[in-house]
Symmetry: C2
Subunit: 160 residues, 2 copies
Amino acid sequence: MTALEDDFGWTLGVVFRALVKATNAAVGDLPGGHRGYQVLTAATRDQPESQSALCQQLGVDRTVMTYLLDDLERASLVARKPAPTDRRTRLVVATDEGRKRLEELDLRLAHAEAHVLSGLSEGDRETFKGLLRRLAGHVNDQDPVPSACAVVQDIAAGAS
Amino acid sequence: MTALEDDFGWTLGVVFRALVKATNAAVGDLPGGHRGYQVLTAATRDQPESQSALCQQLGVDRTVMTYLLDDLERASLVARKPAPTDRRTRLVVATDEGRKRLEELDLRLAHAEAHVLSGLSEGDRETFKGLLRRLAGHVNDQDPVPSACAVVQDIAAGAS
DNA sequence: GACAGAACGTCTGTCGCGCAGAACATCTGC
DNA sequence: GCAGATGTTCTGCGCGACAGACGTTCTGTC
């Protein structure tokens, strides 16, 4: 309970797990749990240009996305529409019901987030979220699909 | 690539996944990958008082810890010793070889961490890690085993 | 226009891991 | 001495990541 407190991996894991738990509890019976929420968010606000683009954004395997969308579609929250420009791809769009559901969820999720962040003051919370946002943006830009090879090279070069 | 950027869950997930990938790449063939490293760290520096305490700290299931330790023990990096005070429990201690291996790993891990944090300036990096540390400490204190019930109550009360 | 190659989505199989439950050894309180 | 609690291990289940194969569709070349 001492050395680990300083470990970046450990601290990040603790917070991440806490958020996932809180989020899953908050979304209740939404198909797909916390990932279902993210899919719904992306479908409503980001107009994902394809199913696989969505996978990449969310870090979800494409084979999982298939039945994740199946479940959400069965619940009438999103719909798969064939893309007019490329009939191989399917556009994922939220239904009216999905959008309505998302509004409710946003409220609940805000509380889940606040629950996890309750250890920080108001100002620190914003600072933290801001830094995290910048970090995620950077990570996502340089490495949308983290190439282990590059990392290994990088590390090997540094550590040798 | 726009709305999600603001989602706390998404940003945290992106950074977490990136770190896990980088860490796994950095530890190479260490049994247990990034979790093996954390076990080794705890065993070396934290003197975990029992196997299950270790599970709780690391957020690992106890059934997984069993064969995680099996693998590390087979590699002569840690050892299970019967606790003198309670023969039900096993103390997890690092071997000399384990401690030596940990020193090498720390170097490599520092580079992996730097890789993930490379989007922030030196100062911001420290700020971020400091806030994260406080957050993890708080989360861990109030909710070592996150009780979904409490969270649900909390959220239900807040969102209604 | 025909064809090779690539991309998208789906399906199958495998593996790691979290979770629930049971079994066993051991400890604690009565 | 005995009932109940606790630590560890094992088994079975389900979810999800990953790799590979397949059908459909698009693109570039001849």
